[in-house]
Amino acid sequence: MKWTTEDIPSFVAEKQYIDTALVPLLPINFDNSIKQSAAMAEFITVMAAEIERQFHGRMLLTPPFTYLSEEGVQASKERLEHWQQQMKGAEIKHIIFLTADSEWKKVENELDEMLIWMPLVPFENMDSEYKKQIISEQIKQLLPLVVNKWKENP
């Protein structure tokens, strides 16, 4: 389910079936890394949309969690935990964080939820056929991670 007025009513009505949230984590920079920040946002947004398409009936794609890299990953993590509490409070059972920012790997063990880190594939200058191929390859590897998480803890 997407964060739209079209999908949210279904989410509310079918809550017992939609027990998983997908949260993109996007770093924001205005300095030299601004290009990198944009590339990550582009890449992760496309990936998140594709995962949502596959698991539409069980997964809620939230708006991205954005943070300044300068904020420091510990501070971002604390804010993220706040999101996490709110979602758990809304009876969302599984939470999946999706990011290309390697900072999160440093705190992966401290997160209670699943972190999927994907190495950034910059889409700029890529022709659309090749881009599609890359996306579907990556998605193919990613889907079993989600399905297994459900299997382990239905």
Partner: protein
């Protein structure tokens, strides 16, 4: 005294202007969506609804295979590329193309993806299952068959249109 009177008038004028302004906004708020309704169908006819070339007949087998296709969708002033998937198989002269969208809550189903359920479409989300022809397996969450694409075959190419409910 005079200045007080002037003051009053100008306040009334001010109110009049303001109200006209607000009224104008409200009118715009009502008319714009109506204009959108009027214009939208025209704009939309450009994308969905057309037939798209999806596969060659020679590629088809009795086993459903996955084919992806994309087209441009125009929504208002915003154009986006939409990718869709179809599961297509051929039996004798009959070609069937099914939508992969689970009729329960819309996850994407896969053919033969669960060892326990051979020769069925399986939905990873809540275990929905469908027969090869799209019929939903009773006792699983979906309550209607997978939707079927409109099909046209021209010069050995399979074109797909909209996916419609089977019942």
């Amino acid at each position: 005294m005079v200045s007080e009177k002037n003051h009053n008038v100008s306040r009334r004028q001010f109110l009049t202007y303001t109200l006209t302004g607000v009224g104008g906004f409200m009118a715009a708020g009502m008319i714009l969506p109506m204009a959108r309704f009027a214009i939208d169908p025209v704009l939309q006819s450009a994308g969905a609804g057309d037939m798209n070339a999806v596969a060659d007949v020679s590629e088809l087998t009795e086993e459903p295979q996955r084919f992806d296709f994309s087209y441009e969708q125009v929504d208002g002033w915003y154009t986006s590329e939409v990718t869709e998937t179809a599961w297509i198989y051929q039996e004798g002269d009959n070609i069937t193309a099914l939508s992969p969208t689970c009729t329960h809550l819309g996850c994407t189903v896969n053919w033969n993806s669960n060892e326990s359920y051979q020769n069925q479409f399986f939905c990873p989300c809540h275990g929905g299952r469908f027969e090869k022809n799209g019929t939903n397996v009773p006792g699983t969450p979906p309550t209607e068959p997978l939707h079927k694409y409109e099909i046209e075959v021209r010069d050995g190419t399979v074109y797909l249109g909209k996916a419609n409910p089977q019942i």
